[in-house]
């Protein structure tokens, strides 16, 4: 605290500069160390689970990697899964940057996919993807944005805690969508809508034949674009500046002329919109129809992706790849050990990161 006044100016100056660069290094370590800890813990738990099944961990891990990054189909599936997870991860990350915990990505994802499907069923068939894609994106963003915006407004207006309202709204929205599909628009003997013919989004195998058979499609490019735009918005624009300020110190943001309540609902709506856009991946990129309960946990895994990716778009994309690899890898090893092993490991990674972040932060602060 008093370095400047007690020592002579030149040395104190150097001291502070060194402290400053140390602070930057610590910030980087703070971002990376928990992930390393988590992977180590997951590896240990994984070993135990594999051994309990009487298998050799080395063999299983090799199988897991071969089945994912080892061939084009596996890689295509990883990319497909990472696409949805990137969207839900970005959604949760934007919320957390504003200090809000959006547990509702699951239903926002579904609502986005549903909204896009509704538009798709209306649009005349044969429209090219270049025309329909923007329309679908807007529809999905509105669908997810409305579902995300409601808890945002409830918080801004009534102070209702967004964690509980988003959890509760998940059930409400999913039941509502289930009702629409089951009661009004399903194809007989299924829980999905009729096929959408307008502007099918091409699979990646249209460009790289090796991906043939995998679900990977051009929505992955939209996901990457969304990550870049989200990063640009958060770190380069005035609204992003105000959103992050609100998340870090709401009182200081208020002092800085930010309308904190309006940031809350806007951030939740934006978060919902991002999750909603993820719905395109399944609905228009893969199946070409809306199917009930297609989200199947991708929204909840978005929380994991955001936490492990430290709420940074680049981190989110990387974490999405990691979690997608695990999900796909589970299928690859299912013949040897139950694929649920990776569900356990994913949960272990989340818990380990959540538990080691405060610990690492304290360690680094003490170290200085």
């Amino acid at each position: 605290m008093s370095t400047t006044s007690t020592t002579d100016t030149t040395t104190s100056h150097r001291v502070v500069t060194v402290a400053a660069s140390a602070a930057r290094r610590a910030a980087l370590e703070e971002a990376i160390l928990p992930a390393i800890v988590a992977l180590l813990v997951a590896a240990i738990v994984g070993d135990i689970l594999i051994l309990s099944f009487g298998q050799n961990p080395g063999t299983v891990y090799r199988l897991l990697l071969e089945g994912t990054w080892g061939n084009a189909y596996g890689l295509g599936q990883v990319l497909y899964k990472a696409t949805t997870l990137s969207f839900t991860g970005l959604a949760v990350a934007v919320g957390l940057r504003a200090g809000l915990f959006n547990i509702g990505a699951e239903s926002q994802l579904a609502a986005g996919g549903f909204a896009a499907a509704m538009v798709g069923l209306i649009l005349p068939s044969g429209l090219p993807a270049l025309v329909t894609l923007p329309v679908y994106l807007v529809a999905a963003a509105i669908g997810g944005g409305v579902v995300g915006g409601i808890p945002g407004v409830l918080k801004a207006r009534f102070g209702a805690h967004e964690v509980i309202t988003t959890i509760m709204l998940n059930f409400v929205v999913l039941a509502l969508l289930n009702y629409f599909v089951a009661a009004h628009m399903r194809v007989a003997d299924s829980l999905h809508t009729a096929e959408i013919h307008a502007g099918a989004l091409p699979p990646l195998s249209a460009f790289v034949s090796g991906f043939h058979g995998s679900a990977a499609n051009v929505v992955i490019l939209v996901a990457l674009l969304a990550a870049i735009v989200t990063g640009w918005f958060l770190f380069r624009t005035r609204r992003g500046f105000e959103l992050r300020a609100t998340g870090l110190q709401p009182l200081a943001a208020e002092y800085g002329g930010v309308d904190v309540r309006s940031v809350w609902w806007r951030a939740m709506a934006l978060s919902g919109a991002l999750a909603g856009m993820g719905g395109l991946n399944y609905v228009l990129g893969y199946k070409h129809y809306y199917e009930d309960a297609f989200a199947s946990g991708a929204g909840f895994l978005g929380i994991a992706v955001a936490i492990v990716g430290r709420n940074h778009p680049l981190g989110v994309v990387l974490a999405a790849l990691v979690f997608a690899t695990m999900s796909q890898g589970g299928l690859a090893v299912n013949a040897v050990v139950p694929k649920q092993m990776v569900d356990v490991l994913q949960a272990v990674v989340i818990i380990a990161v959540a538990a080691s972040v405060p610990e690492v932060r304290r360690m680094l602060r003490r170290g200085r």
Partner: protein, 527 residues
Amino acid sequence: MSGVESNATAAPAIRLADIHKSFGPVLANRGASLEVARGEIHALVGENGAGKSTLMRVLSGMYAAESGVMEVNGRDAAGWSTAAAIDAGVGMVHQHFMLVPTLTVAENVTLGRELTKNGQLDRHRAEREVAELSRATGLAVRPERLVADLSVGEAQRVEILKTLYRGAKILILDEPTAVLSPPEIAELWQVLRQMRARGETIVLITHKLDEVMEISDAITVMRHGRTVGHLNTSETTPAEIAKAMVGRDVQLAMNYLAEQRPAERTDSGHVTESTPLLEVRNLVVNDVRRLTAVDAVSFGIAAGEILGIAGVEGNGQTELLEALAGLREVRGGTIEIARRDVTPLSVKERGDAGLSHIPEDRHARGLILDYSIAENLILGQQHRFTRGVRLDNERIQENARVQIDAFDIRPPDASVPARALSGGNQQKIVIAREMSRAFQVLLAAQPTRGVDVGAIEFIHARLREARDAGKAILLVSADLAEILALSDRIAVMYGGKFATVMPRSQASEEVLGPYMTGATSGRGHAA
């Protein structure tokens, strides 16, 4: 065994020596000591942040000291737990009450010492015992009421009852009068005197000298985490205590007085008659508990004038400033900046209307600690540093270069997070930002709190420059020397109102003191 007894009787009630306690990089206690005889009321005085509360929390077992000697009634008590402290008869009444609002008075008093019958709480006996204790001590409160429904004065009585119920023979009170009205204070003194008569020992943490003189037998003075003096109340004067409290800063205060004598400013008379830049009329503001904190306050500040508000903290200064800044709802009255009514405007709109604000708490309000120096230097003006929807990074960096240079912010690296800076340099960021924007009216709350000497002089010089450039400045400070050094006019705030407003030439510590304690009701007394 009886030998030990008598030995213990001879020992002081409390002996603390060379206590060290830090919180991360902050050294709260660095060689603090305290010796209190049995059956005395002992005042522990010092400025904000002198380490008084920390030292007493160490004694009450809440914090463990890193080193030092701690004895209670001659027995080693180093590093004990709160439970052990309570068992040994040490009880503390905290500044922020340690009461559970959703529990009843009796439940709070007996918490941790519950009376049970067959494993079940004996509610009736608890209420009976608390009622008896309440009667015996004169601390009137109904045991079955919910604490959430109590007034502040009643809540404090519950706090004291809580410690007495646990058999406290040594009672520590942390700024007990900060939240009390004068009649409640008188009642409290009554209770404390009764306790002393019963042979109990009391440590009173305070920075109000009139209280010290009225109630205490002996005084320990702390400054910057160290004990700097031990005085007997009957042999000292408030001036002597004040000198010990502020120490070197008294010299500093003399320096500011030497720097400039506002009384010599001949124009101050006509300045006040010209149109005020800031005009406040009948302002009424609530505090967090929805009680009136600012009670129909009216004043104006002219261009080229500094109005200093002196007063004990918690008399409405915080709420007044927050209301002026747009951070707290105004219940009644108007605020005008340069004849424009800004009462309905938002924080941002007031900023655009020419209001600048150095907030009281830079860590909570004034800075975003994880933002870089450059980003913090535009907080509140982010809409002015844009190109389209984008932030204009070039101008932000250029602004940072200029401000870092002009205000000598260290380290001179705009990308460093504000968290990594010393308190003085953090405050320089706030000052630089608020004084470099286009403004007509500046609200400066505690502008030099927790800042080292060099930075204080620098900040004072900037405030004077702004005044001389024709700005209207409202200065709120707990440091009377600072108020006296900078202000052209001085108001004293007490109980949500201006107890007095006078030109600097008529003001001195002696004159202002009685107004600050509410001792002078009405006017005329001062001159």
